[in-house]
Amino acid sequence: MKSPFVRGLLDGVPIALGYLSVSFGFGILAVRSGLTALTSVIISAVNLTSAGQAAGIAIIAAGGSYIEMALTQLVINLRYGLMSISLSQKLDDTFNTPRRLLVAYGITDEIFAVASAQKGLLTSRYMYGLISISMAGWCAGTLLGASAGQLLPASLTDAMGIVLYAMFIAIVIPPAKKSRGVLAVAVSAAICSMIFKYLLPQVTGGFAIIFSAVIAAVTGALVFPVADEESTEVVSQ
């Protein structure tokens, strides 16, 4: 019988491998926006989130305000709040407040997906295993990507710049095929985002994402409200 920590580590191996290549792309983007490899790894270690970090370095590069940074992270990472609500109802009795404070750090889309697929209640040690190996993969990939700028030819690192965005496409398209609501939300968000980029360039990147996302999600919620069962499965992508 393996200890819960080891089970968590093993369940986290596929997450870590996936993170390795995605954060490689983040490392490349970060260095290209003028950050050092060390700063890139620190950002990965303290944030552990792909979309939020990608938006964050764009704001840093553009010299955006702190308010813009805070609001952008709030909107982009709002989904974690929903995952936290869901996971908080699946914790065993050993989860006292300090452990909750610790494990909360590691709630990502993929960790949420694996943790919520577990049978029965979650132990803190299982979550430590799952989170620590995933985080190791995320930071190692960032370091490799950030250092690769000097080691790999530009043609290769240029091509790696698309990795994160391609992953976002892979998250959105499958549910958009099945749900008219998701499709409508994605199309609205894309249209809004293009309008901001090409017609209202005075709205900076972070706010453009916030406005686009809120307009699209509110439209979706009004026109295609989801059934209760659907919204609890929400974010298992």
Partner: protein, 103 residues
């Protein structure tokens, strides 16, 4: 603007979003509108971040468009995230090698 403060704001906000509900929440949200809104937020955010930024991600609109097309097709056929991500990158790389021969 200080880099340290940027990172602190980024990490602080991200952590609080995860932590507050995790430490405090015991009940499900009742409002159907709010649940629907939260359900759609990830897709809205990811799409707004991707379009049109993806076309500027490789330093060449042509290679990025080719990579995007490959990503869309593979995602449509439910390929795993990581396969889509790496194939799009490989496609953009291949397009970058091929384009000089045609221009």
């Amino acid at each position: 603007m200080s880099l340290v403060i940027y990172i602190a704001v980024m990490a602080g906000v991200t952590y609080l979003i995860r932590m507050i509900p995790f430490a405090a929440f015991r009940r499900q949200i009742k409002s159907r509108f709010f649940r629907s809104f939260l359900y759609y937020v990830p897709y809205a955010v990811l799409t707004a971040m991707t379009i049109p930024a993806i076309f500027y991600s490789t330093g060449s609109m042509a290679t990025a468009a080719f990579g995007t097309a490959v990503a869309v097709v593979l995602a449509y056929f439910d390929m795993p995230l990581i396969a889509v991500a790496l194939a799009a990158s490989a496609a953009a790389f291949a397009a970058g090698l091929a384009i000089p021969f045609f221009s």
